[in-house]
């Protein structure tokens, strides 16, 4: 019972903070909106891909981007927790490390899903007409992606002592994951070196899956995408729980 209460407490804290820090929501949605409206709209006025308007084509990629950024940063924010000593208070609580990790991950997934959901809703303005199945499946893809990326962020954050390394992680982790995911271009006909990277990148399967769900265009079958992504998320969650139980 205590563990469940503790899990709820950790989630509750993250959720409250998320709701109160509205500037964080706005700023985390601003970049994806720029991409979809300006880049997508600008390039889309003269380019269309796979029989679709370019703006619509990159929309699933931008959804993945929203989740990618917000989840990764959520995980990294644990560095601040450590700084303000809030985390010490959590660590002396009679809770298992697994519960702490799970609570954090749930909190991060909630944040990411709300932001991803808002972006998804923005799709209506872009002229995408949803049905229930599309919305549910997209949300599932975003949830699985979020749980994986939050875990990665938490693992990195649990090793970091200060936020100084953030830029490094943006440049060498978030951007490569985004650009090499096929968010901005189709996966077919890629030069072979690029093909290797996109195939290895787990975010590729989130983008491809959502593109399949929303636009009906995908390189891999949607269920294959979901399977790969689930496997990746499971692996990251396991690594995350191990890292947390070893953390000082």
């Amino acid at each position: 019972m205590t563990e469940l209460d503790g899990l709820y407490a950790l989630w509750y804290r993250e959720f409250k903070v998320f709701l109160r820090e509205k500037s964080r929501i706005v700023s985390s949605l601003f970049t994806p909106l720029l991409w979809i409206v300006v880049f997508g709209g600008g390039l889309g006025s003269s380019v269309s891909l796979a029989g679709t308007n370019y703006q619509a084509f990159i929309f699933p990629g931008i959804l993945a981007m929203t989740v990618l950024f917000s989840s990764m940063f959520f995980g990294l924010y644990i560095v601040w927790d450590k700084r303000i000593d809030f985390f010490k208070e959590v660590l002396v609580a009679p809770l298992s490390r697994l519960t702490i990790f799970a609570g954090k991950t749930l909190g991060g997934c909630t944040d990411a899903l709300i932001q991803g959901g808002l972006m998804l809703a923005f799709g209506v303005i872009l002229g995408i007409s949803y049905n229930v199945q599309m919305v549910v499946l997209s949300m599932i893809f975003m949830l699985v992606l979020a749980s994986a990326v939050v875990s990665i962020g938490l693992v990195i954050g649990s090793f970091m002592e200060s936020p100084e390394g953030f830029n490094l992680i943006i440049s060498f982790l978030i951007f490569p994951l985004f650009f090499l995911s096929g968010a901005l271009f189709p996966l077919d006909n890629l030069p072979s070196w690029l093909h290797v990277f996109t195939t290895l990148n787990p975010v590729t399967y989130a983008v491809d899956g959502m593109r399949g769900v929303i636009l009906g265009i995908s390189t891999y079958p949607v269920m294959v995408d979901l399977g790969v992504l689930l496997g990746f998320a499971a692996a990251m969650i396991v690594i995350g729980s191990i890292a947390f139980s070893k953390m000082k």
Binding site: Y8, A9, K16, I84, D85, L95
Partner: protein, 336 residues
């Protein structure tokens, strides 16, 4: 003297904290060096020492945040190494640095704490109201913590430490940086907790007055070792008299040293420091023998004198020599 220390016949219960050669090393630095303590139920126990003496490290080990390098301790009959979960259920801790979430309100912070520390659902609201009232924060319970003053934050931390009714409460520098009025308020409150609720309180401090007024017993800790342990009054008696401090150049020391009631003579650049029995009776004679003193200061010994007595340096001086990091650096350079 205004002494709010409890009467000597105050009853304490069984030992609730026992340490056995508790030791923590950080590479070459021995932060805590084979400490043996026995603290009984209902006691307010002080760890007094300069920054970097090992006080916080000791608390961190007792609260299971750090693992000892050597030795162990029992907290509420549970081993801190092998039964850390059980230990964590018995204790409350207030850290030196504020650890509340300042985006949340005071009320929300307490609610989170109640959830994490397993306060039963049916008493949660009531306990939160109780502790808020206790620390006088009812009016501000629904404001974000970032709008609180330093003293209010400190009180919120205290409230949180008490929320789950711990058997044992650890306080790391509970009144650091607080104004005198708030300090007394908090002392009062800690005292009542021990006397009425039988909570055992272990606190660290480098304030002499805090140790003197609040603690039943004080352990003086320096360089990771306990150098003295007793009630504040008994510790002060060890000094063996009152302190007479004379500002004087070229004092006549030899006749002073022969006086039977002068226990100790120490000379620094322009000061003469005497430890004198029954000083008020003998002061006249001392002054007539010592020569022309520019000024005279007479006082009863403080814990600072006790500290000086045992360690050969003052707490302030030790502080100037630096905290744990400086000691680590020195330990390393001594290696070479």
């Amino acid at each position: 003297m205004n002494d709010i220390n409890p009467a000597p016949d105050r009853m304490f219960g069984e030992p609730v904290i026992e340490t056995f050669n508790l030791t923590k090393r950080f590479s070459k630095l021995v932060a805590v060096d084979h400490i043996n303590l026995s603290i009984r139920e209902g006691e307010v126990f002080g760890l007094l020492g300069p920054n970097g003496a090992g006080k916080t490290t000791t608390l961190s080990m007792l609260s299971t945040l750090l693992k000892p390098t050597e030795g162990t301790a029992k907290v509420n009959k549970h081993d801190i190494v092998t039964e850390s979960d059980a230990v964590r259920r018995s204790i409350g801790i207030v850290f030196q640095e504020p650890s509340s979430d300042d985006i949340l309100t005071g009320q929300e912070n307490l609610y989170l704490h109640a959830l994490m520390f397993g306060v039963e659902r049916n008493v949660r609201e009531q306990r939160i109201r109780e502790v808020l009232k206790l620390v006088d924060l009812e009016d501000r319970a629904n404001s974000q913590v970032k709008t609180y003053s330093g003293g209010m934050r400190r009180r919120l931390e205290l409230a949180r430490g008490l929320l789950h009714k711990p058997k044992i409460l650890f306080l790391d520098e509970p009144t650091l940086g607080l104004d005198p009025q708030t300090r007394e308020h908090i002392w009062d409150y800690i005292r009542r907790l021990a006397d009425q609720e039988r909570v055992t309180v272990i606190l660290t401090t480098h304030y002499m007055d805090e140790a003197e007024h609040l603690c039943d017993r004080v352990a003086i800790i320096d360089d990771g070792k306990i150098v003295a342990l007793d009630t504040p009054n008994k510790l002060k008696q060890i000094v063996g008299g009152d302190i007479v401090r004379l500002k004087i150049t070229n004092p006549k020391i030899s006749p002073i040293k022969e006086l039977p009631y002068v226990v100790k003579v120490e000379q620094t650049d322009s000061y003469l420091l005497l430890t004198v029995k029954n000083s008020s009776v003998h002061l006249q004679e001392i002054l007539s023998l010592v020569g022309n003193a520019e000024s005279v200061e007479l006082r009863t010994p403080t814990l600072n004198d006790v500290f000086l007595h045992y360690t050969g340096h003052e707490i302030r001086q030790a502080e100037a020599e630096g905290g744990i990091f400086e000691r680590a650096v020195r330990a390393r350079s001594n290696e070479k």
